[in-house]
């Protein structure tokens, strides 16, 4: 059984590497990591200069009150804060495409009809697919982690402390879980949906719901404000109804959980450096457990749907 799963997983990886789509995804991911680091560095340098100009302005106006630098105590890891938004935005959507492509390819080419006539059990097949997807996401995440680590070291001119490296590793591990969740949602609909456009667009609608609608209900922030990393740690709505909604929905809002934990791991506020990675996870345990439970449910859903999949189905329509 294990060898069959390995063969399917290897085949999945090989096929995706041959396809232009995966290469495109990998290139986008590398570009977005580099872009994130550049924007982080550029905006941080500019804002420090803007602050110095502001001080000059305040001093020349004769004011005795010199403003405090709002970035005092903000960690160097915050340079890659845009990565949080890119993973929750781009990473998760690309993960859907990887999951969607994984089985829909077999259905469109008619391979799904042939493959189950061979001595391969469906559970081996789906587990092989899942391992293959996980391996690819792991590859993407490791590449992105290494680029971030090297970029931060180059920008700051020093090697990161062990504590910061651990936080960076946990951030990327969390990102892997987050993307894996969306890829499995994509996989589930590629097995379940009757048309190829529905198989892609339903996960995209779910993605919009998770990324924008739920966070709007828990923070009253409009969709574009949710894309600003500065708003991650400060989402407090006004009014009893919205505060009540926030308390109820917050643990179920997976993207909020991802952004809040990631924001703490990358030490986006001044208290971040004093909190250990373990404490960050404990403080957000309800949301984190729900994220894992959702991932488990998506894996089980894909597994169960594959067992029930009608291999004799007529050609899938657009």
């Amino acid at each position: 059984m294990v060898s069959n799963i390995n063969t399917i997983a290897k085949n999945e990886v090989k096929t995706l590497f041959k396809e232009k789509t995966f290469i495109l995804i990998l290139v986008i991911f590398i570009l977005m990591t580099l872009l994130s680091n550049y924007i982080g560095w550029s905006s941080r340098t500019t804002i420090e200069n803007v602050f110095q100009e502001t001080i000059k302005k305040v001093v020349s106006s004769g004011s005795r009150q010199i403003p405090v630098d709002p970035f005092t105590g903000i960690s160097i890891l915050s340079i890659i804060k845009n990565m949080i938004v890119y993973i929750f935005l781009i990473g998760s959507l690309l993960a859907i495409i990887i999951g969607y492509n994984s089985f829909l390819r077999e259905r469109l080419s008619g391979v799904s009809k042939i493959i189950f006539s061979k001595p391969i059990e469906r559970k081996e097949f789906i587990l092989g697919k899942i391992y293959g997807i996980l391996f690819l996401l792991l590859l993407i995440t490791i590449t992105s982690f290494l680029i971030s680590l090297i970029s931060i070291s180059l920008i700051t001119g020093k090697i990161l402390s062990l504590q910061l490296v651990v936080k960076l590793i946990i951030f990327y591990f969390l990102s892997l879980i987050y993307m894996f969740l969306f890829s499995i949602i994509g996989l589930f609909f590629s097995i379940f949906a009757k048309s190829s456009s529905l198989a892609l667009m339903i996960p995209v609608i779910i993605w919009i719901f998770i990324s924008f609608v739920l966070p709007e209900l828990t923070s009253a922030l409009n969709p574009t404000a949710l894309l600003n990393p500065a708003n991650i740690q400060s989402t407090l709505p006004h009014g009893k109804v919205l505060i009540f909604l926030q308390e109820i929905l917050k643990p179920f809002s997976v993207s909020d959980t991802y952004k809040v934990i990631s924001g703490s791991l990358l030490e986006l506020d001044s208290t971040g450096s004093s909190t250990s990675a373990l404490n960050i996870l404990i403080n957000n345990s309800a949301g984190f457990i729900f994220m894992i439970a959702l991932l488990g449910a998506a894996i089980f859903g894909s597994y169960y749907t594959m067992l029930k999949f009608d291999a004799t189905e007529e050609e899938i329509y657009e």
Binding site: T21, I39, T54, I90, E216, A220
Partner: protein, 328 residues
């Protein structure tokens, strides 16, 4: 040739009827309408919460024997509640356009009817015009439903009946929404027509959507020094708008680059003109339409230019035999 046999009208009519029967299309419409409700309700609740917070803080100040002159009361502008809807139209409106363009070609390729239509005495330009007309009408129908929803929900949730002037502004905003959605329709139409594998066309469309709609505006926003801190960097330092302008004039290259990044996205132009018309951007709140269009004329021009270029490409692709991929 009478109107009833005009191929453009026949194709447009078929396009309209086929699409409204499509499950995916219906799902998206329901989703957009639900988001309209959620967005206005959340904005209204948030505003009510701000008013309550304001009243409470005034009461506390009074109890402490202090004056409350320094704190301005939250002002209610019903059209500002539409900020979320504009954001959703930016995101889901574009997806709607992509789906319409994709479905328009996918159904023909799936049933191999495009070759059949072309074997009849129908010009290629008539096919494109028919498809564009049918889908334009469909998008206008959807935006009209959204307009009715906006009117009803604002009345029910916030208890406000929009004035004629306010409705005019919403209608103009929806007109720009139409141009914006049509851009994505044409983009997906071209890709579906040109590419051999339809699903790949859809994936590439989504990647382009991601870049134009979410990434470029996000980069511009996060590069903005004032957006580095919740509530605004300059506000946190008690710097007024005039001083802010003076300070930022020393970072001209950085600001020009940031602006150029934003200008390259059709979404940002759509957002800017919509926010100006609806008074979401404070600078334009309470200003008349003449002032707004005089100040923001570049955004409608950009929007129209984007649409014209893509429309030209659309005609070029189908009129040029060699650029079309017939197979699914």
């Amino acid at each position: 040739m009478s109107n009833f046999t005009n191929p453009v009208i026949v194709i447009a009519k078929r396009e309209y009827i086929d699409t409204i029967k499509n499950k995916l299309f219906l799902t998206l419409i329901i989703f957009i309408l639900l988001l309209t409700i959620v967005s206005i309700t959340v904005s209204s609740l948030d505003f009510q919460g701000k008013v309550t917070d304001y009243k409470n803080s005034i009461q506390i100040l009074k109890n402490l024997g202090k004056t409350s002159d320094t704190q301005a009361a939250p002002q209610f502008y019903p059209l500002q509640m539409l900020r979320g809807i504009i954001n959703y139209l930016e995101i889901i409106g574009a997806i709607l356009g992509i789906i319409l363009g994709y479905l328009s070609i996918a159904k023909e390729k799936g049933k191999r009817t495009l070759q059949l239509i072309l074997s009849r005495p129908v010009k290629r330009s008539q096919i494109i015009s028919g498809k564009i007309s049918g889908n334009s009408l469909l998008i206008i129908s959807i935006l009209t439903i959204v307009l009715l929803f906006i009117f009803l929900i604002i009345r029910e949730v916030a208890g406000v009946i929009l004035s004629f002037s306010e409705i005019t502004r919403v209608v103009l905003t929806l007109l720009f929404s139409f141009i914006y959605i049509m851009f994505f329709f044409c983009l997906s139409f071209i890709l579906a027509l040109k590419m051999k594998v339809l699903t790949q066309a859809l994936i590439i469309c989504l990647v382009i959507w991601l870049v134009f709609v979410l990434i470029i505006p996000q980069i511009g926003d996060t590069m903005d020094p004032d957006n580095q801190i919740p509530g605004g960097f300059f506000q946190s330092l008690n710097i007024n708008k005039l001083q802010e302008k003076e300070i930022m004039s020393k970072f001209h290259t950085y600001e020009t680059t940031r602006n150029a990044v934003e200008e390259s996205s059709i979404t940002k132009h759509y957002e800017r003109i919509s926010f100006a018309l609806l008074g979401i951007k404070d600078t334009y709140n309470g200003k008349n339409l003449h002032y707004i269009f005089k100040d923001r004329w570049m955004d409608p021009v950009w929007l129209l230019s984007f649409l014209m270029i893509i429309l030209f490409l659309q005609y070029f692709v189908l009129l040029n035999k060699n650029t079309v991929s017939w197979e699914n």
